[in-house]
């Protein structure tokens, strides 16, 4: 059954668990550096290796970041919460338990407003955000696929073991209907933007800083009880999230149509095919024997601290978008293009530097984006907001027209200097010599009697036909406005 048919027939319910690696200097429970890369097993201490006798100590910065995330998601911050041990045997878990939080998370019950492509806002209910530590990384050697099956042996790197994570769990997200897959991806993108705005994580999907597990189930109707869900693990790009949800909805619908049952299990997503495959059955048989971590004392973030953090929260992306939309008077579509292109900050800074919002938007999304695209770069990598504002200034002062400004921009991008310098160096400033302009205008009038007739007859748009020759004669440096005034004056219109 195809996705399109599946969502007509069934009501999809999704649930998403997002793990974000916090950008603290050290790990969650020990002093080992929290950095990406480095030789295997170099960023470790006795605690992150789980050596006999080692003990954990809570990283206060990690707690601070978790509280900030909780606050940004509108959660209640617990007055007291605890860490718990999640017990399971696996070589990448050095203590054979993961220090996590179970029934006492640091943050609970919030919501995230997610904006879809067309501007629709969907509210995603958040059940909880809790702190935990990451596991190490297994590398399977000797097999064809790099998977454990067929491997000769496995290597474990504990550099990542103990890296602080916050896991954000949604309540079941209902009522999304045909947009379920889109909502799933947009939700994770929104969280990614929030993490970056809070500066609690680099939040780079491709480095695995943000990872999502996607739960999907189907039911006959919104009134029916929830169906059996599957959990697709570690889906690590927005596009993959969307594809994984689409695939699961279609797959489950096909099963249900055939009168079969959906098996509750974890599934793996395959980038190459866009399909998911069965992992291990997940059922009540999964018993992590949670109990409060006795090596740590309960955490009691003071209300003063929480309020301090709340007051220090930066403006979140959604708030900022709403504010700027009002200030700039762009259309919803224009605003979305800016956000999707990652140009909101750049345009805001350009406006702060003195440019009008419309001009800033025009240059960033137009010529700057085009030039950046040629070099496979982001627009903000090739010019600064101050430079764009400088360029706009020169246009406003009448020293450049759009065409000349593009030339100046090329020079700025090439590293020739600031816009004013490039304009001077390349000799691009608009000609102020009215003698030369007058000559060009007269020449144009003389050579185009038919156009002149039209203008005299009241067809003002015909002036454009004279501008070509004038510009040609002045090598583009004529001020279009002045040329127009001259033509009208000479024709006595």
């Amino acid at each position: 059954m195809k996705y399109e048919d599946a969502i007509k027939k069934y009501d999809p319910v999704i649930g998403i668990e997002v793990h974000v690696e916090l950008g603290t200097a050290t790990k969650m429970f020990d002093a080992a550096p929290n950095t990406f890369g480095g030789g295997p097993n170099t960023n470790v201490t006795p605690t992150s290796l789980g050596l006999p006798g080692s003990l954990p100590v809570v990283n206060e910065k990690g707690v601070e970041y978790a509280i900030k995330i909780g606050l940004a998601l509108g959660c209640e911050i617990a007055e007291t919460c605890r860490f718990a041990r999640k017990n399971y045997f696996y070589p990448d878990v050095p203590k054979d338990f993961q220090t996590s939080q179970s029934d006492e998370p640091i943050a609970a019950e919030g919501q995230v407003e997610v904006e879809l492509e067309d501007g629709t806002i969907v509210t995603v209910p958040v059940e909880r955000a809790h702190m935990e530590e990451d596991a190490g990384k297994n590398t399977h050697v000797g097999g064809a696929t790099g998977r454990i099956q067929g491997a000769d042996h496995s290597l474990v790197d504990y550099n990542r073991a103990g890296v602080p994570l916050v896991e954000i769990v949604t309540h079941p997200i209902t009522g999304t209907g045909e947009r379920a897959a889109e909502v799933a991806a947009a939700y994770v993108r929104t969280l990614r933007d929030i993490f970056r705005a809070l500066d609690v994580s680099e939040a780079r999907m491709e480095q695995g800083n943000v990872r999502a597990d996607v739960n999907v189930s189907l039911r006959e109707s919104p009134e029916a009880p929830l169906g059996t869900r599957t959990e697709t693990k570690n889906v690590n790009s927005f596009r993959s999230i969307e594809r994984a949800v689409r695939f699961e909805i279609a797959r489950q619908a096909t099963l249900l149509e055939a009168g079969e049952k959906v098996v509750q299990e974890t599934r793996h997503f395959h980038e190459e095919t866009g399909e998911t495959s069965s992992g291990r059955p997940k059922s009540d048989a999964d018993d992590y024997r949670y109990f409060p971590e006795p090596d740590l004392v309960p955490l009691q973030p003071s209300r003063e601290w929480v309020e301090e953090l709340r007051a220090s929260l930066p403006e979140l992306p959604a708030q900022k978008r709403r504010r700027l939309l009002g200030e700039w008077k762009f259309s919803d579509l224009e605003m979305r293009d800016i956000v999707n292109a990652g140009l909101l900050e750049a345009i805001e800074d350009t406006v702060t530097a003195g440019a009008k919002p419309a001009a800033a938007r025009k240059w960033w999304t137009g010529e700057v984006a085009r030039l950046a695209n040629q070099d496979d770069k982001h627009p903000t990598e090739i010019v600064t907001p101050a430079q764009v504002a400088g360029l706009v200034d020169l246009i406003n002062e009448g020293k450049l027209n759009d065409k000349l400004a593009k030339d100046v921009l090329t020079g700025v991008v090439a590293g020739e200097g600031e816009p004013a310098e490039v304009m001077k160096a390349r000799d691009l400033e608009i000609v102020e010599d009215t003698g030369a302009l007058e000559a060009a205008v007269e020449e144009a009038i003389a050579s185009n009697p038919d156009v002149v007739e039209k203008i005299k007859g009241g067809k003002m748009q015909a002036i454009g036909a004279l501008m070509g020759p004038i510009m040609k004669a002045t090598r583009g440096q004529a001020d279009a406005g002045k040329a127009k005034d001259l033509i009208l004056a000479k024709l006595g219109v």
């Binding site: 006999p52 080692s54 496995s154 949670y290 109990f291």
Partner: protein, 500 residues
Amino acid sequence: MTELTNKSALELAAGLNSGEFSSVDVTQAHLDRISATEDDFNSFITVTDELALETAKAVDAKRSAGEDLHALAGVPVALKDLVVTEGTRTTAGSKMLENWVPPYESTVHNKVKAAGLPVLGKTNLDEFAMGSTTEHSAFGNTRNPWNLDHVPGGSSGGAAAALAGFQAPLSVGTDTGGSVRQPAAFTGTVGVKPTYGSISRFGIIAMASSLDQVGPMGRNVADAAALHELLAGHDPLDSTSLPDEVGGFLSAAQTSELKGKKLGVIKQLAGEGYQDGVRTAFTAALETAAAAGAEIVEVDCPSISYALDAYYLIMPSEVSSNLARYDGMRYGLRVEPESGPVTAETVMSATRAAGFGDEVKRRIILGTYALSAGYYDAYYGSAQKIRTLVQNDFAKAFAACDVLVSPTTPTTALKFGAEKAADPMALYLGDVATIPANLAGIPGLSLPAGLADGLPVGFQILAPAREDIKLYEVAGPLEAALESAGGRVLDTLAEGLNAK
């Protein structure tokens, strides 16, 4: 037995200070004593003679140079082999860690090193501190110096035997349910379980994290007090470490009086199931205390009756999790399956099957069960509630007296292979008087109170949490009163050993 090994730690400290002898003399005397007696006692898993002499030499040099030294500098000490020692193998009494040489240092050993105490070696224990006889050690039984046919107690059996056998003047043990106090009672020595969090657990191989506490041990109260002062104090590496300033233990032990002290006899711990000789010695000690001016009252701690049950749920639960890491993947023993595929899972399974002894396995199984979904509330959850009740009972009891007292153990040291020693349930019952203190986190001390059938009897004192000093305020003068009434318990042994 030389004169030097017969001296208490404080006597040795005084002699070192006055220049009567050197730390090398003292350390060598104890090392000689160890090599002469280890065949009998088997107190040590590893003797670190070279390191000990190196430390002794360094301390002697500093003393000659007139440097400021710790009061116990140069006095040798033995560490239970649960204390991580960087560069010296640390086994936890288990085959699992038979060849494990720690690459890092424990806070306890750091403190001992900083104070300049030569470490004689690592003492024997029941595997991962689970047991009360040392019979569960992978390195053989330690025998009680009082009678080699009897157990020295456990799990800090090696630590206690090293003291009673005059192999070491000071020992560091650990106490999760009585593992310092019970062997102290069985060997006629003094063992202290401080308030939970008094001494750092960083680098102490974990048995049950919420119950484990390092304990100073000596042949008399003052020695234990001095060692307690050395070891205690806040450690930022242990999140459960108390921020309290510590001190005054030694002077409390040396200068306090029994007059006016209120000793509460715990009704639930003075009656049935106790060996006659133990009861007699305990009652006699109470009379001695009363004669010295102490007031004896009876107090009721009803929930103590459930303490043992709660302990045997909480302890194994934490054990099952703490011992999960011994899986053959990173350090210690690694065993591949005899047949079938070699995978992480089969190696973990084969390693744990081969590396752990029966008692450890029994507790891991118990704990795994108690924490399982569907049982958690009934077992671990209920046990935690009892824990709160025990704490409340103690709080009420301490409102009516300064300290609580009881016999440390229901019996004197059992014989190896005795019926009781083979029955785990009977052995668990032997911890009935010591366990409540661990559940409540309060401090406890055992000191010798005479003999029963030629074996020592332990007298336990319990004090409110973070008031460890009260242990010494009573134990110090009580020890003096008991000695003037009946002589020093250990002198009897010393005479016996000398006669050999």
